[in-house]
């Protein structure tokens, strides 16, 4: 047996591998999300839309054989503090989705910190749940779909960027290496969404804002499309940015970040 050129180590081929993905849907349930736009009916408040949409989104995700079989989805909500609406589980498992607790703040720092602490537990649980004889389970870097109006506020004051950015950085840097797609509704703070999102080296980030004409159903479909895009496909350099979902526009780099 001769080798013409040095080859990669064959250690990786010792066992068959299955790849699984963790997807976090994070929903801002602060008071501002409960306030409808001027002139709109109370039931048109963004939060109510999303609370109604999450079961639909999960059903749409479960329709896809890829996401249904290889991905696990967790739903978190946050206002003054974070809470788990649906624990990180495979979509084939029937799990009740909790109703978000009422709260007033938009504490980015607490939810990001919570996710940093929660991720290793979720990885362990998914590994255990999917373990099969003769197969190694690889858990890919998680995707976070963060739906917010982009106005961090905690303890009766606006939350400074530096206060939550430290937790965001821990979440997106290795070993977790999360990729964040920030999705805002019309009127959301674009700069905050851009800073929260991750992206590629060219300055393009997964920060999106939905059009005013987009219906809730379209918005749900767009998020599902974005999740489907984000997993499963072979790529050349890692899926760092997703295409702009239908009914949403990608947010440009803010002026203060360009300097």
């Amino acid at each position: 047996m001769t080798t013409q050129q040095p080859t990669a180590s064959f250690e990786g081929a010792r066992s068959a591998r299955i790849r699984t993905y963790l997807i976090y849907i994070v929903l801002d349930t602060s008071e501002s999300m409960r306030t409808p736009a001027r002139g709109a009916a109370p039931q048109d408040a963004p939060l109510q839309h999303f609370v109604n949409l999450i079961p639909r989104m999960l059903r749409d995700l479960a329709d896809s054989p890829v996401i249904n079989s290889i991905a696990s989805v967790g739903v978190l909500a946050f206002n003054d503090r974070p809470e788990v609406l649906r624990p990180m589980t495979s979509l084939v498992q029937a799990v009740a989705i909790g109703k978000p607790r009422l709260g007033y703040g938009t504490d980015y720092a607490s939810v990001l910190k919570f996710m940093v602490e929660q991720h290793p537990k979720d990885v362990r649980a998914v590994n255990l749940g999917r373990a099969r004889e003769g197969l190694t389970v690889d858990v890919a870097r998680p995707w976070v779909f963060f739906i917010t109006d982009g106005r961090p506020y905690a303890r009766s004051a606006n939350q400074e960027t530096a206060e939550w950015m430290v937790h965001r950085d821990r979440l997106v840097n290795l070993p977790i290496g999360a990729r964040i797609a920030a999705i805002g509704l019309p009127g959301a703070d674009r700069d905050t969404l851009w800073e929260l999102a991750t992206g590629d080296d060219n300055g393009s980030r997964n920060a999106f804002i939905s059009d005013r004409r987009t219906t809730p159903r379209e918005l749900s479909g767009s998020v599902v499309d974005a999740i489907q895009q984000s997993i499963g496909m072979s790529t050349s350099a890692g899926m760092l940015t997703i295409e702009s979902p239908v009914g949403m526009r990608r947010i440009d780099r803010p002026r203060r970040a360009q300097g």
């Binding site: 047996m1 001769t2 080798t3 013409q4 050129q5 040095p6 080859t7 990669a8 064959f10 990786g12 081929a13 010792r14 066992s15 068959a16 591998r17 299955i18 790849r19 699984t20 896809s64 054989p65 890829v66 249904n68 079989s69 290889i70 099969r132 004889e133 003769g134 197969l135 190694t136 690889d138 858990v139 890919a140 870097r141 997993i231 499963g232 496909m233 072979s234 790529t235 050349s236 350099a237 890692g238 899926m239």
Partner: protein, 367 residues
């Protein structure tokens, strides 16, 4: 004397039940035969439904291989049937519906292996495809199976499969050349690029002269891909694994060269050995690819008679492992002899919810 004759007359004149009983017995026999034939037919139909033994991977282990699927066993094909999902199976069994399409009868003959005389390129964007044939002659002979299966993910999205494979015989070098390409799902034109990459390998492989290094054909093949992408302004990329299998009196000399996560393996004596892989441990679906990376990783080995050399896209190959994966164990039992082509197609399309990508495999038995 006369009296005696008179006394015997009434007995002869009575009813003769012999013919009647005979006719009755004949009718009963015919009825029993018809009943037996009908029951036999029903049993064959039911058995063809119930005894599916296709490769089906489920949590907790593998499906059991057929008991008599030993090497060279003529009875093996009759037992190598597709497994249907159990719910449907029960329904069909109860209703006695014939599911004959993919069930082989016990008298089924082994397929004739057509000699590979010209290049064969398989790219099934919308359907499953299988090829079978042979190359070489006498004691230095190879039997080929090649199949491509559109993955569940693409089928669900209504998008084309992006794998391709090809084989050709180089008469001058007396060797088989095979290639498998897996287009990158993140780029829409990757299927066309994979198809073109395999075509380039076959073209270069067919005209490769004796004494030339086989691994060197990767570079011109990659050049074809690069020019094809640039000319058509395609958004596409592909992995590529290619191999030359030259039968020898001892077995075969196998050269493999590759870019990306398509893999090459060989199976001998129930053990899988990897020839090329670029697996990542971080769970990322990132791979080297053409046309950006044209530097291949090459390897040459000698394999003995009875080996099976396999090139495959990661949709199939990632289910193989050197430590004994469920698929690896199953195929090690079933690939002692080349399976019937349709059986091979079913094996490439094994059932497992975790493996949703397109699958392509070229398997070459060294005889």
């Amino acid at each position: 004397m006369r009296r005696a004759e008179v006394l015997t007359e009434p007995a002869r004149a009575g009813y003769d039940l012999g013919p009647l009983v005979g006719a009755l017995l004949f009718l009963i026999a015919v009825f029993a035969l018809v009943l037996w034939l009908r029951r036999r037919r029903d049993r064959v139909v039911t058995r063809s439904v119930q005894t599916g033994a296709g490769v089906m991977l489920r949590e907790g282990g593998t499906s059991r291989p057929p008991k008599q699927a030993g090497a060279g066993s003529r009875s093996a094909p009759s037992q190598q049937r597709f497994r249907l999902p159990s719910a449907r199976l029960g329904k069909f069994a109860r209703l006695g519906k014939p599911v004959r399409g993919l069930a082989f009868g016990p008298s089924r003959r082994r397929p004739t292996e057509p000699v590979l005389t010209s290049a064969v390129l398989i790219h099934g964007p919308w359907f499953h495809t299988v090829y079978h044939g042979c190359g070489g002659s006498g004691g230095a002979r190879v039997v080929i199976r090649a199949a491509t299966v559109r993955g569940v993910a693409h089928a669900f999205d209504g998008t084309p499969a992006q794998d391709a494979c090809g084989i050709t015989w180089n008469q001058e070098r007396q060797s088989l050349i095979a290639a498998v390409a897996d287009g990158l799902g993140s780029k829409p034109d990757s299927g066309d690029v994979a198809h073109h990459a395999v075509a380039g390998v076959l073209r270069e492989g067919q005209r490769l002269a004796t004494g030339k290094d086989f691994a060197a054909i990767l570079e011109p093949a990659a050049g074809h891909v690069r020019r094809f992408v640039e000319k058509n302004q395609f958004s596409g990329a592909t992995t590529l694994v290619l191999s030359e299998i030259r039968p020898t009196p001892d077995g075969a000399e196998v050269t493999v060269s590759a870019v990306g996560d398509s893999e090459a393996w060989f199976l001998h004596d129930g053990t899988w050995t990897v020839l090329h892989h670029e697996r990542r441990s971080d769970g990322e679906n990132v791979t080297r690819h053409l046309p950006s990376q044209a530097r291949g990783r090459a390897r040459r080995v000698r394999v003995p008679h009875g080996s099976v050399v396999v090139l495959a896209s990661d949709g199939f190959a990632s289910a193989l492992g050197m430590d004994g994966s469920p698929l690896g164990r199953e195929l090690a039992a079933r690939w002692r002899q080349p399976p019937p082509p349709v059986e091979f197609l079913a094996q490439v399309g094994f059932e497992d919810e975790y493996f949703t990508d397109d699958r392509t495999a070229v398997a070459v038995w060294i005889r």
